[in-house]
Symmetry: C2
């Protein structure tokens, strides 16, 4: 690739890390390397250690380092790029995935005396064992009318930073005492690469109650949570947080040696996978809703001012790009619902009609073919897309799925289409929540694994929301591209990069020519169906009939009585 | 079989007729013969005639005669019984299945000038093209506060006698003029066999607004329906109706010759398939609910007095056995829902696990095995069994099915079990409607095709209703046995039969030793689930949210706009 300047993006996912080599002048992705985590998601037992309780999900921080050590040389080699042409490095991470460390950054799980202690490891974003702590945080937060309750759309999640920290304190006070730091993996990896602990405003704002103008909640609040947490910020966190796009430091000598990159190569402030995808989708202004569409959907939107929107995952100033308010919302199952249907709901006549493909038959294509031939409203079905609860706007994990309208003539493809429509209604609900607060959503931009596979889905999302949808050029590597873009910004124009994420976006981020446009006739019918969805949504989701919660309780009591009989 | 006296039962079903030879002293079924109707259900075009509109369903009365002509000799031969040992003949029919005839009983469709006219043929019970007429009948009936509205649980069906007659008058006044009689096939076949027109009180009471003490509605009512119907009773029906179990007449000479039965063999008054099954299940007293379980369920109950119970198909004095009030209720889809699920909802893992059987794999057994291993409440699901609308107690064909509670872990066998439970909740709703009016339902007795195939279903019905269920001995031939029992009563004790249906039942009707008993622990959980079912039942079924009707409207408008585009 000659002397083109490149930036590296390192994208830390749930199962693996990905290193991409991106040409700075136009964002062309030259090569990439994927490094699976050796210990993966640790949810059954610690490596050579004890069994874990249900709902735990841990990781080994050493796996994160191996992504750099193995992935960077591999990607550079594949790109035929020399280390000296790399002007900057950016990273992005799952969040909230915090870990306890000593003052020098050593994870507690590295130390022999803590190695077999589950609380010494990284708590992955999907660690769900801190629900009791989240409940306490919400209870006290509401009683004290804390601002974070509003910022997080009415509820602080069990997946987030302080729920996880409070779980450590509740269940393993000795680990709490032993840690000097509790730190997001997003910040820890940057600390490792540069030798400097500089935490980012994004995870602080979206996961840890931090507000730009005011910092963290008061000591009184933390003391109310737990007496030993009164001074948690000074004792376990830091006071200073750094905006996205800044330079955290230069690559440390040891890492320069391991990766053949120049010592001092600029490394950007840590970032979050969903948030970093926004500029990579070409979005740095208000009005475009970015959807990262996979097993679930993350909805990212920029706004010019702060509004309290129902059911947000967070609302953070400069949380996505500088100078704007970053809003995050989400649907907890989308691709997952279709995967459920493919496994549990596809009858023989679909299966037999499907063309053979690697590993079986292409049931998806067969279903899509039949479902696409249907007109909106023709099936007489409507569904609620709550197979994994509802994130936005209801923030309720105990809600469950509904299909309504079956007759003896209802076919599998009709149910499939109703499920797609339900997920689109879920997104429309979020869009309308934004607009009801005066935050415009003019169009949609999609990335992630789902848009590529499923054209019908994208068309239905356009018809249901009544908005055009563009697709990111590199659908599956948006976060990695976004990380590389931040690497280029960390380098700055003088070093061949860009001075702002806005410049970087203009040059490096691209969308496809394909645009899904709403079809007028379809939209009108979907307006009627959406009204039905809304009525059911509010009836089952806002307390008129809590049947879903009662059924879940009954289910749990059945399961526990089975366990107790054994 | 030596000199054992036998009775013949002739059971006219939808696709065929069945003749059974039954030993009078103990009800033993010696032999049977099935004669399929040559013209079957005529729902696409008349034989050598014009195409029919949607929703039409006709039959050829000649097919009914062939059942006697072919079936009786065949059954007697199989039973090795001589004609002289037959002491009586009973019949039962689908209803309401009326036809227009001349004064001598000749069906209009026999006459060359009417042969190609659809309205000249038998309108089968499931002819659904008279909805507009039924609507008019209900509207006028309600406005005039006619008693039949209460008798039929608030709604007169499009399937019934006067809806069909009014359709003839609306659409083919020349046929209306040409007919001297409009008569149920149940009565017509008796007329043919005996030469005497003696109509039964059962079809009159359940399908034609007739009330024992008062006869038909007034002339004013019929005139309000249509001016030319003012004198419909005198002009097209008869004034006299005869109770079940009586002797209509003796076998006519021509039929004696055709069947080798003695001339004058007693023939009982015509009967209806569901009603005649009640004594054949051993039930001639109040307190036992008979369920004829197949694609749908008919619920038949005897009561000592008259009550207006919500959603009845009818409430008729002497309508099932003399001296008691016969109540009929129903669920419009039961076996049909399971058949739908087997076709449209069974995924590969069930299909692959099923044992090979004739014509495919025994998916039912595989599903039942897995579903039976579940505990009540364990699935977290609840469903509304309205795949074909709701007959009792809501009487609303526009209601549709619901499944609620799905998560990403929901499996096919859980959905199957939820569907079974939903049909059981439907029956419990009917049971509670009876009991709320002081009509006791102490236990259940089942017959029909469904109980034999599905033990899990029967156990769940017992658990959900909290009542013991016995099964008829001959599950699938209950109606035919009941017809033969009425034949024995028509003969009377002097001729070797019985004087009353009560005596006949005591000797001839039997149930199996197997009894399904409610399991206490299960019942308590089902009490909780039933409450959820009731809440959803009332929410979607009683006007709080008419989403199902709106979706059906939308579906219809989509379909008609597709048709209009073609």
């Amino acid at each position: 690739m000659g002397k083109d300047k490149v930036a590296l993006g390192i994208d830390y996912g749930t199962e693996s890390g990905r290193v991409v080599v991106v040409r700075v002048r136009d964002g062309e992705q030259i090569a990439s390397a994927i490094v699976p985590y050796a210990d993966g998601v640790i949810d059954e037992r610690l490596p050579k250690g004890p069994r874990l309780e249900p709902d735990w999900a841990l990781q080994n921080p050493r796996d994160y380092l191996l992504v750099v050590e193995k992935g960077v040389p591999k990607a550079l080699k594949a790109a035929r790029v020399k280390g000296e042409n790399v002007i900057g490095i950016g990273t992005d991470f799952t969040a909230s995935s915090p870990m306890p460390t000593k003052r020098d950054g050593t994870p507690l799980c590295y130390l022999p005396q803590y190695r077999k202690h589950p609380h010494a490891w990284v708590k992955l974003w999907k660690h769900h064992a801190a629900q009791a702590e989240a409940n306490r945080i919400n209870e006290i937060g509401r009683a004290r009318n804390e601002e974070f309750i509003r910022i997080y759309g009415g509820k602080y999640s069990s997946e987030w930073f302080f729920s996880k920290l409070l779980q450590v304190l509740d269940e393993a006070p000795e680990i709490y005492e032993a840690m000097d730091r509790f730190i997001e993996a997003a910040d820890w990896i940057v600390w490792q690469l540069t030798g400097v602990e500089k935490r980012n405003t994004c995870t602080a704002g979206y996961k840890a109650m931090w507000v730009k103008s005011r910092g963290f909640p008061t000591r009184e609040f933390f003391r109310a949570l737990h007496p030993r947490m009164e001074n948690v910020v000074e004792e376990k966190l830091t006071e200073d947080y750094f905006p996205l796009g800044g330079r955290a430091g230069g690559l440390a000598p040891a890492w320069a040696r391991k990766t053949s990159l120049p010592e001092g190569t600029p490394v950007s402030i840590g970032n979050v996978d969903a948030h970093v995808a926004v500029p990579a989708c070409g979005v740095t202004e208000a009005g475009s809703l970015v959807m990262i569409m996979g097993t679930s959907i993350c909805h990212m939107l920029l706004g010019t001012n702060r509004q309290m929107v129902e059911g947000m995952c967070g609302t953070v100033e400069d949380g996505i790009v500088p100078g704007l308010w970053g809003y995050e919302a989400g649907q907890s199952a989308v691709g997952d619902i279709f995967a459920w249907f493919f496994e549990h709901g596809v009858p023989e006549y679909i299966w037999k009609g499907a063309r053979p493909s690697a590993g079986g038959r292409d049931v998806t294509a067969e279903l899509e073919k039949h479902a696409a031939a249907l007109r909106p409203g023709e099936s007489g079905l409507v569904a609620l897309d709550w197979w994994n609860g509802n994130r936005s706007v209801l923030v309720d994990v105990d809600l469950t799925g509904v299909i309504l309208g079956m007759t003896l003539a209802t076919r599998a493809e009709e149910i499939y289409r109703a499920l797609i429509e339900a997920t689109a209604f879920g997104t429309r609900t979020i869009v309308e929540a934004f607009e009801s607060k005066g935050i415009p959503v003019k169009n949609l931009v999609a990335c992630g694994g789902l848009p590529e596979k499923n054209r019908l889905l994208m068309q239905i999302f356009a018809d249901v929301t009544g908005r055009e949808i563009r697709l990111a050029k590199n659908l599956q590597t948006c976060s990695a591209l976004g990380a590389a873009m931040h690497g280029a910004v960390a380098a700055g124009r003088a070093a061949g990069g860009y001075d702002t994420i806005f410049e970087a976006t203009e040059k490096m981020a691209h969308t496809q020519k394909l645009v899904y446009k709403p079809r007028q006739g379809h939209r009108e019918i979907y307006d009627r169906l959406f009204k039905e969805y809304q009525t059911l949504h509010d009836y089952f989701g806002r307390g008129a009939n809590d049947v879903m919660k009662r059924l879940k309780e009954l289910k749990k009591s059945c399961q526990s009585s089975v366990v107790s009989r054994q």
